[in-house]
Subunit: 420 residues, 2 copies
C-alpha cells in the first residue's frame, strides 16, 4: 500500500471520527449488535479464509504458538461475537461529565469525556483482535484503522469487511472501520506518519513490534509492553496461600503477559516453602532456574543466569530467587520488573501497605495472583490490552481509557481582568 493510499484511509477515518463522536449510544450499540450478527452469519467465509491463512502458516513453519493464535473455529467466532455484544452492553463513556465545579466569579467549570478521534491498532497473528479492537473503538466513539499481522491477512480481510459493512449499514459514518489490506511493513511506517489525522497508535504484540513502533511513530502511543511479573513470598506469609497464588500465577496460563516469570522468596520461609512449590511446579511441567541459595535448598535445579532475571519466558519456565529482606525484593522488582503487575504474599499489614505504595507497576497485588491483571477481572469490561506506560493509561485499557476529558465552561458574560 502506498503512502497515498494509507493517507486516504486516514483522512476518511478522520472525517468519520468527527461524525462518530456525536453518534448517540443507541445507534452505536445497534451497530455493535449488527456487527456481532454479521460475524456469526459470516462464519463460513471467515473460516475458509482462516484455513488458507493456517495452511500458509504451516508451510512457513510457524511455531505451534503462532498457529494456535491464528486458528479460528466456530467456538472462537462465537466468542468473538459474544465479545462484541459484551462491549455493546457496557456503559457509554462519551459525554460523561466527570466533575463540575463553580468558580467565585460564577463560571461553572467541568470536565467532559470525549473520544480521542482516530485510533490505529497494530497487532500480530490473532484475528480475534480485529473484532475486539474495532468494537472497543467504535463504542468509545473513535474511528479505527486496523493493521493485523501478515499471517492472518485473509482472515482479517473478511472480518474487517464484515465489520465495516455492518457498521455502515447501521448508520455509523463511512470510513469509521478501516483496514490496511497489506502485508508489507511499509504500510505500518506510512500509518505512523499520519499525525494530525490519527490520534493514537496502539501496538499489540511482541517487544520487537513495540520498539519498532516507538522508534518510528510521530503519533502518541499506548504501548502494551512485555510482562515480567514477580510474586514475592514474604517472611511470615501463609505458605498454603503463597503456594496457591504462585502456582496459579505461573501455571494457569503461562503464555500471557500477566503470568509470573520470577518468584522471590524471603530467606526465612524459603527452606519450608521452596521444596513444596518447586515440587508442585515441576510436576506441572515447569522448568525451574534457581539462584545459588535456591539450588542449595532444592536439588536438581538448573542455575539461573543473569539474563534470566530479565527474561519473559511466556512458557513453563520460572526463575526463583531467595532474598534477604522485603527491601531486597522491592529493589529486585524495581530493577527487573516490566511495570505490568507485581504481587506480594504477606501476613504483615504494614509490609502489604508498603508494597502497594513502593512498587511502581500498572497493577500491584497483595495476596492475589497477578493473573487477575485484566480489564474483565477488574470489572472494567473488555480491554484493549494492558498499558505498561505511565502516560494517559496504566494497566488494563478499557473504554474509558480510549477517551479523554476536555474542559467545558459555562458563563453569563464573564471576562478576565489581567490587571487585577
Amino acid at each position: 500500500m502506498t503512502m497515498q493510499m494509507v493517507r486516504e484511509l486516514g483522512e476518511a477515518a478522520h472525517l468519520a471520527a468527527r461524525a462518530l463522536a456525536l453518534v448517540v449510544p443507541e445507534v452505536k450499540n445497534r451497530a455493535l449488535m449488527a456487527i456481532a450478527d454479521a460475524l456469526w452469519n459470516g462464519r463460513a467465509e471467515i473460516l475458509s479464509a482462516n484455513e488458507i491463512d493456517l495452511a500458509e502458516a504451516r508451510l512457513q513453519h510457524h511455531s505451534s504458538a503462532v498457529l494456535d493464535r491464528l486458528a479460528l473455529d466456530e467456538r472462537r467466532i462465537e466468542k468473538m461475537a459474544a465479545g462484541v455484544r459484551q462491549v455493546a452492553a457496557l456503559s457509554d463513556p462519551v459525554g460523561e461529565i466527570t466533575r463540575m465545579w463553580p468558580r467565585p466569579n460564577g463560571l461553572l467549570v467541568g470536565r467532559m469525556r470525549v473520544p480521542l478521534g482516530v485510533i490505529g491498532v497494530i497487532y500480530e497473528a490473532r484475528p480475534g483482535v480485529t473484532a475486539d479492537a474495532a468494537a472497543l473503538c467504535l463504542k468509545s466513539g473513535n474511528a479505527v484503522i486496523l493493521k493485523g499481522g501478515r499471517e492472518a491477512i485473509r482472515s482479517n480481510r473478511v472480518i474487517s469487511s464484515l465489520l465495516a459493512d455492518a457498521a455502515m449499514g447501521s448508520g455509523l459514518p463511512k470510513g469509521c472501520v478501516a483496514f490496511i489490506d497489506s502485508v508489507d511493513r511499509e504500510a505500518v511506517t506510512h500509518l505512523l506518519q499520519l499525525s494530525g489525522l490519527v490520534d493514537l497508535i496502539i501496538p499489540r504484540g511482541g517487544e520487537e513490534l513495540i520498539r519498532a513502533v516507538q522508534r518510528t511513530s510521530t503519533i502518541p502511543i499506548l504501548a502494551h509492553d512485555k510482562g515480567l511479573c514477580h510474586t514475592y513470598v514474604d517472611e511470615g506469609a501463609d505458605l498454603v496461600m503463597a503456594e496457591e497464588i504462585a502456582f496459579n500465577a505461573k501455571v494457569d496460563r503461562p503464555g500471557v503477559c500477566n503470568a509470573m516469570e520470577s518468584l522471590l522468596v524471603h530467606e526465612r520461609v524459603a527452606p519450608l516453602f521452596l521444596p513444596r512449590i518447586v515440587g508442585r511446579l515441576q510436576e506441572a511441567g515447569v522448568e525451574i532456574r534457581g539462584c545459588p541459595r535456591t539450588r542449595a535448598l532444592v536439588q536438581g535445579i538448573v542455575s539461573a543466569a543473569e539474563v534470566d532475571w530479565d527474561t519473559e519466558y511466556l512458557d513453563l519456565i520460572l526463575s526463583v530467587k531467595v532474598v534477604g529482606s522485603f527491601e531486597e525484593a522491592v529493589a529486585h522488582i524495581a530493577a527487573h520488573g516490566s511495570g505490568l503487575a507485581e504481587a506480594i504474599v504477606t501476613a504483615d499489614h504494614s509490609r502489604a501497605m508498603r508494597f502497594l505504595r513502593e512498587v511502581d507497576a500498572g497493577a500491584v497485588f497483595v495476596n492475589a495472583s497477578t493473573r487477575f491483571t485484566d480489564g474483565g477481572e477488574f470489572g472494567m469490561g473488555a480491554e484493549m490490552g494492558i498499558s505498561t506506560q505511565k502516560l494517559h493509561a496504566r494497566g488494563p485499557v478499557g473504554l474509558t481509557e480510549l477517551t479523554c476529558e476536555k474542559f467545558i465552561v459555562m458563563g453569563d458574560g464573564q471576562v478576565r481582568d489581567s490587571t487585577k
Copy 2:
C-alpha cells in the same frame, strides 16, 4: 554538554525520583517553602545574573517581547517565590486513592495516584518557568530536569542552583532538581534520547520548539501547542455581552495563547455587531483583517488572506469572518482551531449545548472569555502550561496531570481459573 553528562543527570534524577515518590507531603512542602525563601534571599545574585543575560540579549538585538519575558526585577522574583509558596499550599495528589471497588470474588480493586517519575521541561526565554516548573514537579513527587533557553542561561543557572540547594537542604533526594547548564541544541537532543530514565518531556515554547521536540523525542511528550482561539457570536446573542467578551478575549493580554485570534459572527447580527466591536477594537489599537462580508459592513479594513485563518498573531491583530450559520462556525473552528480554547456567545440553550459537545478543544466556553483558560482560573492552582494534545491531559496541566494512576488490588488468597 556531552551525551554522557546528560545521561548522568538522567540517571541521578531517575534514582532521586524513586526516593522522592515516597517522601511525605510535609517534607515536600517544607522544601518548597525553603525554595521560596532561597529565591527571595538570593534575589541580588539572580538580578545580577539576569542583568548580564539582558545586556547580552540587547546586543543580539532580540525583540522587545523576548526582552520583556527575560527581564526580572524584585517584583517578579517576589511573584516567583509567592508562586512556589502557592504550590506548597495545594493539596498533595500523591497516594490519593481515586476509586476503589469490590469484585464478586472478594478482591478489592482500586486506583492510586503516583508520580510519573522524571519530567524534562524544555522552555525558552522566561526564567520564571524555572522555579514554577520545579515547584510543580517536586510537589507532585517528580524529579525534574530543566533546560531553559540560551538567552536566560545565567539567570536560570543561579535560580536552579538555589532550588537544588534548598531542596537538598530540606531533605529531598539529591538529583531531584537537575539543570542542563548548556546553550547548545545538542544537549536537548541528548535529553530526548533518555527513554527509560525520563518519563515525560514538557516542551514549553513556540511552535518550532514543539515540532523539533516531537520529531526527535523517544520519550512521551505533553505538548503545549499554539493557541488559535475563536469567539463565535451567534444569531440572537446579547450583543453587549458579546462585545465585552470579544474585546476582553482580544485585548486583555494579546500575547498569550488563550487570547482570541479569530472572531466569527453570524450574518444576522453582523450588521449591528461588527461596526461596534471593530470600532472599539481599533480604538484599542487592534488591526482588523476581514473577510469580504466583514469589509462590506465596515469601511477601511484590510482583507484577510487565507493564511490569516491559520495564524496565531499573539499581537493586536484580529481576523474577522461573517458566517452563515452555527454549523459553518463549528466547521470553521474544526478546520482552523488549534484545540486550545473556543468560545460561543449565544442566548440559545440548545446551541450552547451543541457547541459544548461538538467543538473539540481543550476548553470550550459558553458566554465567557477564552482568556479564562488557565489552571488558576479553573481552580486547579498553578499550572505547568496548557496541553493541546488529547492523550493524558488536555487543557491546563496542574499537579494532578503530573501524576498517573496505578491499580492496586487487595486479596486474601484469590487465584484465577482460566478454564472457567
